[in-house]
Symmetry: C2
Subunit: 591 residues, 2 copies
């Protein structure tokens, strides 16, 4: 049975040594001092360890059941959801006007990590609700906000995103669900939606579906798609729950993982819906949810890897097998712990460097969102728009890969369900698929974000890195180990971007290299994070910080990532510059 | 529900265009002409498609059940096993003296592929039996051979390998199972063995366990380990089955995949056993099984990827979503099939180039085994010893990765069990773990095989590649696309081998780079296969072969692998030459 402990020391390092949050000129950040974030994260860690982690295996084994049209969640989920709710964990960054705590988004994100690590399936109920909250907050009328937000903030009601239909996932222009306008200004929604996370369950009084549908007579394709609020129960003018709406669960999907989350087929049969935002502008409102969701999914990628890593590390310290080739490290025992073996170390270091780098990147991304939203900083907005597909795509690919690597440490035991490592792998797998499969993230990055605003964001990102390198050039402790590899990787990224620009007339070339470019950029991002973390660690050491072992470890960990992972950028560039020809050579019939 | 069709055309290409089996100077090979292998493979393909593939999902859903001490296999397995048996599929390469067909090993391997692709869990019952057959054939007395082999050849009795114990997997020196010698020359075996594939089931009259155990008084560690035949039922002198032996199933493990195969805890409680081979030389006999099993597991790696690929390809041709950026390819439909999108192509080409390259490598390996065993060719023996850990480790890592990639083509549907793509991923995962986890394969390669016989095998391998490059240097159709990348990758492999030799006093350096070296060598192997396949395709085209489209496709497919995958070797070399320091920098306490 796996265990989980929130990595509080590393979270604090990211918030304070790296990001120096309380010194940032963003509204609300001054309150985020070390003592405050420590208190919040310690409490979040307790909830995760004591309440959510023990339910993770329960959720996997039991799954959700559809009984007489109602979804039953696994034993213990409802009580845990009550505890999460009453602890205020659903409201951290929500608007105080609707009962939220009004803290910065970064605080919401960092406090979410332990929940996701401890029980990803459980955390999704809250995650999709937060997305629905944001969409209504940004696009709703005052009346809609007053009706729906207070209950979504507390998760007394939960939310969903109803996008996908059986024949239409990525290509939402093919959507068939229809919304007929009614005399009273409401709509009647009809259609089938699939893959609806938290589509129904027994942990909330009402479920607020946000549903993409077509208003007859509107434009074809995605330009004719609108977003609707379709509640499970209608809400009376006094706020009490009224009649059951005509939206029902067709089926719970049997999936590879996240069994504790009810992934539903939802049937809308002339269900009452309310237009959210403008008619035919549903995609814009949906992307408010989607972009937030994508950062959250990027967090899932590394958070699952963190949980898997913790257990792999414990096993590697515990399992006795073979001897250190340099001499017994545990001479009184029958064998040495397998952590002495270099290949086991390699594996653990891969996991550790990814998780810590991705945590830094995700939290930096969260501060960019705060800066964009609260300070109206368009540069920050451009940067996070550029990096969102990377955080989602790269981190979930690598997060899955690292969960597999952690499972591998266990040998045959890793394949046995009782050890729990299989669940990390099976759960982590979904993050590469939902909220836009990773190929779509790569397409978004290369086809949309790279050229956005005349290429300003990508150039600003490259300049930011070069600025860091230039500023620290004289620091011998960074030069060869951090700055040189970062500079080389950044040059590879720049060369790849220039290559794409030079292929403007052969768009297949950019698309053929898009996935490689997403990974290339991911490595550059983590390289930047590690270089900045090394800088922060040196600063702490120079200031004679008390826990020097932590900072020395951070430096050594970073050297590993730079030495052993940044060489990937040259390979990815080599692949990218082979262009479209090798990829597109075959006629589809000749595969 | 997935489908499967044996890739007969490609198998024939590998056997005849690439390996030219019927022209090889190995006993029995002259009979392997195109017509003969076509007839065999067509029939194997029918069994796989019609009988085994439909049972794959059944096995996954039902799993095996332990009922009153007896393992019940999934519905339909027993009838299918009878059909496989009566079709002679278990006896292809077995010794005619014991009822086998006496065909070359390569014929056994190539005919196995469809079975493994169609139903990996099912194929394991036969696979482990073949291993037990080989161990007894090579190490048994005449009486033992007469008693056990005829029934193992037909799979009327099946075999197992009992190695692992709860506290000892890789490090077999820790083994506790004991074998007490008896006055009649037999032994009494006591101990618990875990992870026993096909440990018990209802498809055979008897089960022949090959059990590693310690004879009291023998040397410590692996040098005191002996191998025993421990049958489920004792066999009377007349060959009929006698008393039930004291070996029983403790439990069937609940696993991530291969649910159709019963992975058992086996308890030996003073069970009657017969020494196989010499006392304390059990590891040698076990390695006869193990090496064969490792090649078979390497086959599983690509065979699962083949099955997953076939379904991903079909889905990519069928699923309509989005439009080709260059213009609609299916203008009358609502959207284009997703195979038009470059990133989907990239994904499919990754799968296709891996599977075809790995098939070639595996079958080449099988011919090396035939050459080593039937011709006593020590060079062939050295080469296949070197390549076995690569075929096992690289091909199962990549096979899993490609099954994941195939699943990704399905988007959200890939995560739903009913589509069957999850099963390919879950089943393929075990191949990276069993028969020596892939980290152990890497250790075997670098720690044992690389320096074997003064490095002769690896130098012979490098010379073989260079010879091919030199011979074909003037062929413009190969030079830039195949020979140059192969030469560069081979130089990287050579440099890595030299680096390890230079670090002889710091063995951690070689061990820290062992996994990378296994993958580096894997890419060189597949690069060689693709270059040789390109040569074979050109020869066929020059000879005006009738199906020129097949050969043109083969060339274009190969160009993709060379252009987009061989650049990995430079990255892997860069990682390797960072040495042990980054990997071993942390104290175990500081992780």
């Amino acid at each position: 049975m796996p265990s989980y402990t929130a990595p509080l020391r590393d979270m604090q390092f990211v918030l304070h040594d790296l990001l120096k949050v309380s010194a940032q000129d963003i509204p609300g950040y001054a309150d985020l001092d070390r003592a405050f974030t420590a208190a919040v994260l310690e409490e979040a860690g307790k909830v995760a360890t004591n309440l959510l982690q023990p339910l993770n295996a329960v959720g996997d084994r039991q799954g959700c059941r559809l009984e007489n049209g109602v979804v039953r969640t696994p034993t213990g989920f409802a009580a845990a959801f009550d505890a999460v709710r009453s602890g205020g964990w659903t409201a951290i960054d929500c608007d105080p006007a609707y009962g939220g705590q009004g803290l910065p988004y970064v605080m919401h994100m960092v406090a979410q990590e332990p929940f996701v690590s401890a029980n990803m399936a459980f955390s999704i109920y809250q995650g999709v609700t937060h997305g629905a909250y944001s969409a209504i907050l940004w696009h709703g009328t005052d009346a809609q906000k007053a009706t729906w937000l207070p209950k979504l903030v507390t998760c007394e009601w939960t939310g969903t995103m109803n996008l996908t239909e059986p024949h239409c996932g990525t290509d939402l222009g093919l959507m068939r669900t229809r919304a007929e306008p009614q005399a009273d200004g409401s709509y009647r929604v009809t259609g089938q939606k699939i893959f609806i996370s938290a589509g129904d369950h027994d942990m909330a009084d009402n479920i607020v579906h946000l549903v993409l549908a077509r208003i007859p007579g509107g434009p074809d394709g995605v330009k004719g798609v609108s977003l609707f609020i379709v509640p499970k129960f209608l809400v009376n003018p006094d706020g009490t729950l009224g009649a059951r709406n005509a939206v029902s669960v067709g089926k719970i999907e049997e999936k590879m993982g996240i069994h504790g989350n009810a992934t539903c087929i939802m049937n809308h049969d002339d269900a009452v819906g309310y237009l959210l935002g403008k008619a035919h502008k549903g995609m814009r409102a949906m992307f408010t949810m989607m972009n937030e969701a994508r950062l959250g999914v990027g967090l899932q990628g590394y958070a699952q890897a963190e949980a898997a890593y913790q257990n792999a590390l414990a096993y590697a310290r515990d399992r006795l097998q073979g001897r250190d080739i340099l001499g017994a490290q545990n001479p009184d025992g029958p064998a040495d712990p397998i952590i002495v073996h270099p290949d086991v170390r390699r594996n653990l270091m891969d996991q550790k460097t990814f998780v810590e780098g991705a945590r830094a990147l995700t939290m930096w991304g969260a501060t960019l969102i705060d800066r964009a939203q609260k300070n109206g900083d368009t540069d920050a907005d451009g940067l996070i728009s550029l990096l969102t597909p990377v955080i989602k795509g790269f981190q979930t690919d690598k997060g899955f890969e690292m969960a597999v690597a952690a499972q591998q440490v266990f040998g045959g035991h890793g394949y046995i369900e009782a050890w729990g490592m299989s669940q990390f792998v099976r759960d982590a797998r979904i993050a590469m698929i939902y909220e836009g499969a990773n190929g779509i993230q790569a397409l978004d990055l290369v086809g949309r974000k790279l050229g956005a605003d005349g290429g300003r964001p990508v150039m600003a990102f490259l300049d930011l890195i070069r600025g860091f390198v230039t500023t620290n050039q004289a620091e011998a402790r960074l030069k060869a180990d951090f700055l040189d590899p970062l500079e080389a990787a950044t040059a590879d990224m720049h060369a790849a971007a220039l290559y794409f620009m030079g292929q403007i007339k052969t768009p297949h070339a950019a698309l053929a290299g898009s996935y490689d470019f997403m990974h290339l950029t991911g490595h550059v991002c983590l390289g930047l994070m590690w270089a900045q973390m090394a800088r922060a660690a040196l600063d702490a050491l120079d200031a004679r910080a008390s826990d020097s072992a932590f900072y020395e470890t951070k430096l050594a960990t970073g050297r590993y990532y730079m030495a052993r992972h940044l060489p990937a950028t040259a390979m990815l560039l080599a692949r990218i510059t082979t262009g479209a020809a090798p990829v597109m050579a075959l006629d589809a019939a000749h595969f």
